[in-house]
Amino acid sequence: MSLLSVEDLVVRHGLLQAVRGVSFTIERGETLALVGANGAGKTTLLRAIAGAHQPAAGRVLLDGADLTSVPSHKRVGMGIALVPEGRKLFVQMTVEENLLLGKTAGRPGDWNVDKVLEMFPNLKPRRHAKTGHLSGGEQQATAIGRALMSNPEVLLLDEVSLGLSPLIVDRVYAALQGLIASGTTIILVEQDLNRALAVSDRVICMLEGRVALEGPSKAVSREDVTKAYFGLHRKSPGSVPA
Amino acid sequence: MSAVSTSPAIERGTATSRIAAIAVAVIIALLAIAPHFLSAGAVDRMTALFIYVILAAMWNALAGFGGLVSVGQQVFFGLSAYFAIRLADAGLNPFLALFASGLIVGAVSWPLSLFMLRLRNGEFAIGMWVIAALTHLLVNLDRLVQGETGTSLISLNAYDAGARRAAIYWLALASMTALLAILFGLLRGSTGAAIRAIRDNEDAAASVGVRVTGTKRLLFVLAAFGIGIAGALWLATSITFQPKTYFNVQWTAYMIFMVLVGGIGTFEGAILGALVFFLIETWFGGTGVWYLVGLGATAVLFSLFLPRGLWGTIEERFGLRLLPVGYRVRFPATADGDATPSPQQTTPYREKA
């Protein structure tokens, strides 16, 4: 059984349909990259999986269990953790407090504050600093650490490199590589196509709320993804219109 | 109704609203001659109703249209009555004093608004209450008022009881009509668009250049003036002035009840709410404390389960509009559109004013 499956998911923001009938599955230990232009529905999809948006139709299943009526905080307890776009740290609280909040759901596992600080050594001296005073890279590290503290089975990463300098992005991805190696299941949204293809096993390209392309990251060409990204694939014969 | 054109039509009045306009004129005319037929008691009750309508409409102007919920509006009610006492004591004709005091209260509210309108939501609500409490205490210091003992508008007693009753009735009717007309005019005019924009989203309104503070100030001063007039009229009907009665937060409770029940943010709703309140008071006012418990409980229930009030709900359900202060878009029935609302459906009538 797939660890996580999304079936015909539809999510609306008022009258706007942000996600229009998306389906995919992800196996344990797999890394899935979600790419697509701004407004393609990637963030909404991740937030719906995490329980921050109620879908208008369709289901999200974790280990075969339907999550539709499960609120976001309970999904954390079931093993889904989201690193939200824009980091969304509690800026009035310290790094340590933010990390400890990740433990609220109380899932067993070996993540703790020290292990996170081990993974992100740059946070060590900032342990008791309010996160509002941190640099972007430190904030991102805290946000990832906070999600890891819940010992997730599935980690959802939404644009973790947004607004960071290339050097810091390298550091964040180096840390992610460790996670991937350890067998954590990851869905990541990433604007940088090369990075997304390099780090993932499989890639899904979204266009206007639908899946425009899906395939193993090694097998799809950059050109295919670019076409799907801009919707050019529709004209080519044989491809399924989304 | 036929809809031949394919583009949506924008309209102001409806057939119903034109009938309503005629009905309003007839009702006012009937009310104007009513004292000739009504008993003295009935005339007094009708006067009270007019005052309630003023209170409801003015609180609605402030909260429903300006987004400013105040629980201290009794300050204008009491202050105006106090000024009327003071002016009459200084020798002014009591009837003139009633209006002069309303004007003074309106004038006083202007500098007050500079200060209070910088508060938001709950802060503004209780801030106004503090102002009311302080004003009450300060009025008590005036020797003329004799503390909580109070005083009377004695000079009004010079007039014959019957003529006085009718005169106050007409004054109340005229004040109500004039204040409602001012409010209606404001809402229909260019200010009305600003008011609705602020009501729907204050920040967005400000960002597209709506003069948020200026518009709110206008409503604040209008509400102060109107409630001041109501306070002065109340003094005229009851003659006696006890600060505790006039500065009682219960006045605001009544206003909130009327507007919540009638329909906050709708012009007709406040009037309907005043009518409902008037009837409830007539029937249950005698039950004393349970009556007040009922008012409070009704307000809670409406705020939780029917926040748009009676009129707001009717309007939404039936697309009914008697006194149109806004515009509405009417979608024509088209052949292809399964999602296109038919004229019977009221979903497109989103604008609420």
Partner: protein, 298 residues
């Protein structure tokens, strides 16, 4: 004069007690509960009823009334505030105002218009005093009240910073949406916060009953005191509430010196002056006044 200043400072303890629940609820849920004062008076009546009917000392009675208040807080949040807060920022004002009217008049229905006091049920504590150097007499009750305020505020501060539940409540107050995404049950955190606030209200009601008299309509002035102390002190830090309470009490004391009816006027005027100064320097509304962080857009 120094005697009066000390009495004023001690009275500030009471105002801090009544204010801390109001500002706590505002900082967590962004709701100003207009039934705050009425609920304090309700607690005072509950204690009075237990004392007069069953001869239960008000201090023992707190063991019954405080859990009751916690339950009321929970129910208040779950059934009233949560629902009404969904309708925007203005609706909770109307809901809680309606609730205040209901509570006040039900109390009137049940207990009549007479003013009551818990003083007769606490023995000599209501008038006992200690003599301090300089022939200053301070009431034991006033000192206990002040100490209770300090302990309560300190305890609350520790709870919020040192416990998991406290962190959850702070996270919810900062960003309820994200709190859910890290595993915090925001509904539960808010309900617990409301319970805690109501326990402080119950305690404040007890001291109101012990130090003074109360009647069914005494809730409104208590709400105003609480609001004034919270605004003067700035609710960003709980200790600010204590300072706010003391400033309010001192202003009232000063007002009473100036004019026999100046007690309340002094407090209101001090509040307005502080408000005016803050508004002319910050201009950010109460969020600025209370020095609270602006909530992140959700």
């Amino acid at each position: 004069m120094s005697n009066q200043i000390i009495q004023g400072i001690l009275l500030g303890g009471y105002y801090a007690l009544i204010a801390c629940g109001l500002s706590f609820m505002f900082s967590v849920m962004r709701i100003i509960n207009l039934a705050h004062g009425s609920l304090a008076v309700f607690a005072a009546f509950a204690l009075w009823w237990l004392a007069s009917r069953f001869h239960i000392s008000p201090f023992v009675g707190l063991l019954i009334v405080l859990p009751l208040m916690a339950a009321i807080g929970w129910a208040l949040q779950r059934f009233l505030l949560e629902r009404s807060a969904r309708g925007g920022a203005l609706l909770p004002i109307l809901t809680t105002f309606g609730l205040a009217i209901v509570i006040d008049n039900l109390l009137f229905e049940q207990f009549g218009a007479d003013t009551r006091s818990l003083a007769p049920y606490i023995g000599s504590l209501s008038y006992d005093s200690w003599e301090w150097p300089g022939s200053i007499y301070v009431g034991k009750l006033a000192v206990i009240m002040f100490a209770a305020a300090v302990i309560l505020l300190g305890g609350l501060q520790l709870f919020l910073t040192r416990t998991r539940l406290g962190r959850s409540i702070r996270a919810t107050s900062e960003d309820p949406d994200t709190a859910g995404l890290v595993g915090v049950d925001a509904h539960r955190a808010n309900a617990i916060a409301a319970s805690i606030a109501m326990v402080t209200v119950g305690l404040a009601g007890a001291f109101l009953g012990m130090r003074a008299t109360f009647d069914p309509y005494a809730g409104a002035p208590q709400l105003l005191f609480a609001f004034e102390a919270a605004v003067i002190g700035g609710a960003g830090s709980l200790w600010g509430t204590l300072i706010g309470g003391i400033v309010l009490a001192l202003a009232q004391t000063l007002g009473a010196q100036v004019h026999p009816q100046g007690f309340l006027i002094g407090g209101h005027v001090a509040f307005l002056i502080v408000l005016f100064i803050r508004l002319s320097t910050s201009g950010l509304g109460l969020r600025g006044l209370l020095r609270l962080p602006t909530r992140k857009p959700t």
